[in-house]
Amino acid sequence: MEVKEFEGKNEEEAINKAIEALGLNRDDIDVEIVEAKKSSFIFGGGKVKIRVHLEEEREESTGSLEPAGDFENQIIEFIEGLIQRIGISAHVQISFREDNKIGIDIDSQDSGILIGKRGQTLEALQTIANVAASRIQDGHPRIIVDSQDYRSRRERSLVRLAYQTADEVRRTRDSKLLEAMNPFERRLIHTALSKERDVETSSEGEGLYKRVRVYYRGSRNRG
């Protein structure tokens, strides 16, 4: 996930600049307005700052791939058997292959149940799938289980949350504690804000699910 900022006199101009610079269509970019100053009658010159969220391209970003080899066939068969026993009918396929990662997409009418509250069922299925994978093959690729693009949608909304929280603590000159997240989700927040010089992040709490606090720099040692 990458984030770029653009400015223009108004929203449209900023978006057009982004489209031109990135060589993408309007529908392909995810735009967030960071700052909007209306032009004044006397001074003219309004300013709109937008933030564009770009997804890293995957080699095969659309459609599904044919399973290749024993490992992929066996892991698909295992996950199909698992979902069938949950009592849900679904179609399981390979969505991408990356260095040492295999994406599994579950297509089902009941994908809401398979995703679960804040993705926790998806996470559980992934945990079990990875243990099963280690039984099929030593040094197996990591299995990423997804349904209806939940993971990339969640990633995008977390990165957006990170930037919004940064803006908020800049305004309040204080800190803000985010909701509990798993390690992967927390890393997204830390990474998203690592380049922002005036804010800092740290994790608080115990166990797998910790909470990230976002600080305005300088607020940390006060009181």
Binding site: G81, R85, I86, G87, L114, I128, V131
Partner: protein, 77 residues
């Protein structure tokens, strides 16, 4: 249904699948599933900090959502 689900998951995790036994105890309000595995495999179905057990319970509750039955998993040691 839930019994087969737990058996299926447990057998995929352990070294000794033949040692996996699931007993169903029907209670008043809910069904209890008792999972028993070979002695050396208990750690495999519980996992570090109970991570695997938690995943099994989460999947089980997804199944309950679908079937409307409340099911509790107990791992016997």
């Amino acid at each position: 249904m839930e019994k087969e689900l737990v058996e299926y998951i447990a057998k995929s995790l352990v070294d000794d699948p033949s040692g996996v036994v699931v007993n169903m105890v029907e209670g008043e309000k809910s069904t209890i599933l008792e999972l028993k595995v070979s002695e050396g495999d208990i750690g495999k179905v519980i996992g570090k900090h109970g991570r695997i057990a938690k995943a099994i319970r989460t999947i089980l509750s997804a199944s309950s959502t679908k079937s409307g039955k409340r099911v509790v998993l107990e791992i016997l040691d």
